[in-house]
Amino acid sequence: MSEVQRRKYSQEEKNGIFDGEFMPHIDSMYNFAYRLTFDEDDAKDLVQDTYLKAYRFINSFEKGTNAKAWLFRILKNSFINEYRRKSKQPAKVDYQEVETYYNSDDVDYQSTSDMRADSVKDMLGDEISNALNSLAVDFRTVIILCDLEGFTYEEMSKILDIPIGTVRSRLHRARNLLKEKLQGYAKNMGYNTDEEE
């Protein structure tokens, strides 16, 4: 994905790649951008920027390879740069910071939740969305990439520039945090989740 291709595409080939391989992902791209920024205009700008960059660097894209992952990587990088440039205060959660803070090598795979599958099945879209949106951006990102967009660990590792082991542990952490949020909703819905009140 990162190696620069020497081969130059003709104008016609460029148009073919752009329309045939890049543009079909606009829905997923916009959805990702919106879930990162929570703002329609920012999401539009981010997607637009991403496509312009994709066009500019189209010679480093190898025709027929994973265009969606390639585009998502550009979008993610644009978001990080833009986000850090735009916000005056330091970003709430820094990727590196989270890594050192949360990701020890031994991820604790104990279940942190006594929630039942049935209570999750009855959740409404809004509740799931709100729970997802309330996660820190890097945790939100891995869940979006994996569960909403269906990327593999390997693709995610390339999109996020992190090792596969880190993808796995970050995803696990993210899901545990999500479970905690959902458990709060489940309690409100009246499901008995071992409460002591």
Binding site: D27, K44, Y109, R175
Partner: protein, 89 residues
Amino acid sequence: MDMNEESSEARKLKCGDTSKCFELLESILDGEVDNSKDMLKEKLAKCQPCFEHFHLEQAIRDVLKNKCTKQAVPNELADSIRRQIQEIK
């Protein structure tokens, strides 16, 4: 109260190694383990904590996939992108 109670009699109630088991189950759910069908079946038949963890994790993935509404893409976005590409061509 436990809906899985009748079917759990053959399962052990304590998992031998939740860390290892849960990591494997989550990788299976994420489609990262090839030919996992039989392995999974056996695991879920033998261990109650694994059984519960698997179904909870599966429910969460399903709900994320099916109920997180997709944000509608603004109509003019694709046109606007094409217009800007025309300009830099």
